[in-house]
């Protein structure tokens, strides 16, 4: 049996310079191609969900449409508004793109492979704080958007940029907290070690049954997984959280004044961020580059060599499909409900979940069984007491119709009687009487009897 070789942190930092450059260029091209295909994929899938054919003109299945759009966009007039802050307006799109690509550099794409005799991991690099790097990149990307909106010197972009910054920092809190549970379970903040920790589940004994806990953190830490997914959609400004570019309110949000290649860079940064977030979800929760469980049982070599590239790309595409699916299904949220969801729902759930998880872990490892039982019983009693004694607001009984009518101020309009029967309109009756009787479903004339 071929065993997949998990890279350890010591395996990074020893590549020769040409290998580093090759890996960087490969990941950069991967990001570009995924962007091109991602736009095509999104337009195609949204079209199918709306029962339209979608892109089908440029190239086979319309695959070259994005390339054509990009070329056309590059040869458009580059407009900078008179009121714009020239330097910031110029550099804002680059910030967004650079952050998106830099985050891709710590995504693990596979195990140790041999390239021209060099043993190396299919990952540009990995450091003990890789996840923090991704987190920092997605935080810095806010600058591109808010500066782009501010520097345009125009009303709509300014509002869009402000909204976007408020939204992104709100959801960054939820996202950062949801990763804490992953760190606790994996015991590491480096992406390759998190993938290695999801290799196989721990054996657990559950009422005498010997089971193997699933290795994927998506199942093991399902609250964190769900919160991370919601926050990832909020963080990438995608529907239903695409308030910064709400067309009906803000035209195109922060990129209203941008045209030509600068606009394309903003578009690209959005899709690169989507790819990066999908890759992060895959790495943190969906087992990274490892093949899903049914494949590995009948094919031992699925996780070795270059095959993991296939699995991680498939997982990223599935996550991209979820992004598109959300866009095609859900209407845009209102700003206040959206902020409330982030701060009032996701944040407290996250904090409580972290504490619960920590308590479970501490109880399993550091406490002997008698005191564990005592603590468990105490926790249950405390929860029951809290549920009993929780101050509940009693709603006053809804006033009846008569009470409502009586409470109206003096001088209001007179009310019609409550049991008023409205006769049908005479015009409606005439129209019904003059209409031909319906003949649907009856046998054609001539064949009857």
């Amino acid at each position: 049996m071929i065993v997949a070789q998990d890279p350890t942190l010591q395996d990074f930092g020893h590549d020769p310079w040409w290998l580093i450059i090759a890996k960087i260029v490969a990941i950069f091209v991967f990001g570009l191609v995924m962007t091109l295909l991602g736009v095509w994929f999104e337009r195609r899938v949204v079209a199918r969900m709306a029962v339209r054919p979608g892109l089908n003109q440029a190239g086979p299945f319309g695959l070259l449409q994005t390339l054509a759009d990009g070329l056309k966009g590059a040869f458009k007039e580059d407009i900078m508004p008179r009121t714009a802050d020239k330097v910031v307006f110029f550099f804002a799109p680059t910030i967004a793109v650079i952050c998106g690509f830099t985050a891709l550099s710590v995504i693990p794409f596979g195990p140790m492979v041999s390239i021209f005799g060099h043993k190396t991991a299919l990952q540009v690099t990995d450091v003990p704080v890789s996840v923090l790097l991704v987190f920092a990149c997605s935080g810095m990307a806010v600058y591109g958007i808010v500066l782009g909106g501010w520097a345009s010197g125009s009303t709509y972009p300014l509002l869009g940029g402000l909204r976007s910054s408020a939204q992104m920092i709100s959801y960054e809190v939820s996202m950062g907290l949801s990763i804490v549970a992953v760190f606790m379970t994996a015991g590491s903040a480096s992406t390759s070690q998190i993938v290695a920790a999801q290799r196989s589940g721990q054996p657990i004994s559950f009422f005498g049954l010997d089971l193997t806990a699933p290795g994927w953190y998506a199942i093991l830490l399902i609250p964190s997984f769900l919160i991370f997914c919601i926050a990832a959609v909020g963080e990438t400004n995608r529907a239903p959280f695409d308030l910064p570019e709400a067309e009906s309110e803000l035209v195109a949000g922060y990129m209203t004044e941008y045209s030509s290649l600068k606009f394309l860079l903003f578009m690209m940064s959005e899709y690169v961020a989507m790819v990066g977030m999908s890759a992060m979800v895959t790495t943190l929760f969906l087992g990274g580059w490892r093949a899903p469980a049914p494949i590995t049982t009948f094919w031992a070599g699925a996780n070795s060599g270059w095959w993991p590239l296939l699995w991680i790309t498939a997982k990223i595409v599935i996550m991209l499909f979820v992004f598109v699916w959300l866009r095609a299904t859900l209407p845009r949220m209102r700003y206040d409900t959206f902020m409330r969801l982030g701060w009032r729902v996701l944040l407290p759930i996250n904090l409580v979940w972290i504490l619960v998880l920590a308590a479970i872990k501490v109880l399993r490892e550091d406490v002997d069984s008698t005191s564990r039982n005592l603590i468990l019983a105490g926790a249950i009693v405390a929860a029951l007491l809290a549920a009993l004694l929780w101050p509940s607001k009693k709603k006053p009984p809804a006033p009846t119709l008569e009470e409502l009518a009586k409470s109206r101020p003096a001088g209001s309009f007179p009310l019609p009687p409550m049991d008023l029967q409205v006769p049908p309109s005479p015009r409606a009756r005439r129209a019904v009487a003059e209409r031909e009787p319906a003949n649907v479903g009856a046998a054609p004339e001539g064949e009857q009897e």
Binding site: F75, K76, V124
Partner: protein, 121 residues
Amino acid sequence: MSLSPYVPIIGMFALAAGFAVMSVAIAPFLGPRRFNKAKLAAYECGIEPSPEPIGGGRVPVKFYLTAMLFIVFDIEIIFLYPWAVSFDSLGLFGFVEMLLFIGTVFIAYAYVWRRGGLDWD
């Protein structure tokens, strides 16, 4: 500890920066250049753009409050990360300490909620 694993990140940054800066730099030379006064005005759906004060003008204070809240919780997260990574070796002591810390932040959170800091309109 050597810093060499960090070098490829800088390489990736440099490649992306080169690509992005080159894109914005060549943009004015690729397209046509036929400017006029209306085209260079700020876009406001066709009406005369409302004049803006120098420097972008004023921003509603609620965004400022959101940013302050973000800083509070981001610092909490940064405290949580090292604790989470070394959770197994800290054991019960670490758990109780973190319980106290999160409890303190939770009181602040409840206060902000109660005072209407988490209300948006």
